[in-house]
């Protein structure tokens, strides 16, 4: 689904657990794309074809999966990262994630080309697409979120969802860290809150007011 000219959202509609994926089209040189959290190749319980479905939806948007040049992983959990192994192997894309979470990713057989740290990620000719990478721990120790100031889009991974937050009971999780991460992200100017899962809602929250309401709801009802 095309959200903006160069920003696409692929909301997971299967029954099994898998993440939402987001794509910045033609962001790299030679017109290659950047995908954030490509998800499962095949979901673990019902064997639903996560990657094949994503490729088909990209094709409907006129995008070729073979043109993916960079995969950004918000964290290492397989429901976000599994397809990255395949994209790297088959399409020669680079994989970027935090060094902290790369240890877990390596246990899944994943190789990381770029360690992401808090700062600016410039893409394309003369860095025309400027993203901000935030270290947003809580769900996992090295979790990162991706903010695109020009588009006012925040890709949250598993930090915050529609009226909910990511789990903190998994290895390396921390409720205190998650609270701080959410507090910090809530201060950004966001029109598109792009969540990592479609829990009770597609997870694509549009409009500044709706985004602020979601942060307020989570802060009041979840992070109390």
């Amino acid at each position: 689904m095309r959200l903006l000219d160069d920003l696409h959202a692929y909301v997971w509609r299967g029954n099994d657990n898998n993440c939402n994926s987001y794509l910045i089209a033609r962001a790299l040189k030679n017109g290659r794309h950047v995908i954030i959290d490509p998800g499962h190749v095949v979901t673990p319980m019902y064997r639903q074809p996560g990657w094949r479905r994503l490729v088909q939806e990209m094709e409907q948007d006129g995008l070729d999966a073979g043109d993916i040049g960079l995969v950004i992983l918000t964290h290492a959990h397989t429901d976000h990262s599994e397809a990255a192994l395949l994209i790297r192997k088959e399409h020669g894309a680079l994989v970027a994630m935090s060094e902290v979470d790369s240890t877990m990713y390596a246990r899944l057989g994943g190789a990381v080309d770029i360690y992401l740290q808090e700062g600016e990620l410039l893409l394309g000719q003369n860095g025309r697409t400027a993203l901000s990478i935030f270290h947003s721990p809580g769900h996992s120790p090295g979790h990162v979120t991706v903010y695109w100031p020009e588009r006012k889009a925040l890709i949250t991974g598993d930090v915050i969802f529609y009226r909910s937050t990511g789990r903190v009971d998994l290895p390396g999780g921390s409720a205190t860290a998650l609270r701080q991460s959410i507090e910090r992200l809530s201060e950004l100017d966001v029109e598109y809150l792009l969540c990592g899962h479609p829990y009770g809602h597609p997870g694509v929250i549009q409009g500044k007011a709706a985004v602020e309401q979601n942060f307020a709801f989570v802060k009041t009802n979840i992070l109390r």
Binding site: A27, L28, K29, N30, R32, G69, L70, L94, A96, E99, S102, A111, V112, D113, I114, Y115, L116, Q117, E118, G119, E120, L121, L122, L123, G124, Q125, G127, A130, L131, S132, I133
Partner: protein
């Protein structure tokens, strides 16, 4: 009787063994080596892991005699020499102490200093080369349209860095090899 014609399994095995040709001296040596060399390796491992003290190495060797003792000793010394490296200082120094004990308490302070100097040199060289390699990787990423303060190349996935690392290591492995040879020679009886 029927039983008279049935041979026991032991009898059959003995007959088969008797029909086999005897082992040559080389084969006998090989068999001995296979049996006793792992014992020397095990003594070295137990020492390096802190189970044995350096003063106990000789008494461990005294359990063996003749050719067997020679094989165990050679394997022990060789394993200790292999443990002398430039990456793990604590294990290297322990290995040197062990070799010193086997060489009648030889003073190896000079060797330790030499190893420390080589390690420091190697570390410095690696740091310099790593920085240079990181610059080259950043340049390559910029060429693909990826840059910024959030980006740090993972050099362990870089072929360029792996080649550089192998080159540096081979440069120092000769010097390390000389030290190992000298140490091994000290223990020759």
């Amino acid at each position: 009787m029927e039983e008279d014609r049935i041979k026991s399994a032991r009898e059959i095995a003995m007959e088969k063994m008797a029909s086999l040709p005897g082992l040559t001296p080389e084969e006998l040596n090989g068999q001995r080596e296979k049996e006793y060399a792992p014992r020397g390796v095990a003594i070295a491992r137990r020492y390096l892991e802190g189970v044995l003290r350096s003063t106990e190495l000789e008494s461990e060797l005294h359990r063996y005699q003749g050719k067997e003792a020679e094989i165990v000793r050679t394997a022990l010394v060789s394993t200790l020499c292999e443990a002398v490296g430039l990456r793990d200082r604590a294990e290297s120094l322990k290995a040197v102490d062990g070799i010193g004990a086997l060489a009648g308490g030889a003073d190896l302070a000079g060797t330790k200093q030499e190893m420390d100097a080589i390690s420091a040199e190697l570390e410095e060289k690696e740091e310099q080369q790593q920085a240079a390699c990181e610059d080259r990787e950043m340049k390559r990423l910029r060429g693909l349209g990826i840059s910024g303060s959030a980006v740090r190349p993972n050099l362990s996935e870089s072929e360029d860095w792996q080649q550089e690392l192998a080159r540096i290591e081979s440069e120092y492995s000769q010097r390390l090899g000389d030290i190992r040879k000298r140490l091994a020679k000290l223990t020759e009886t």
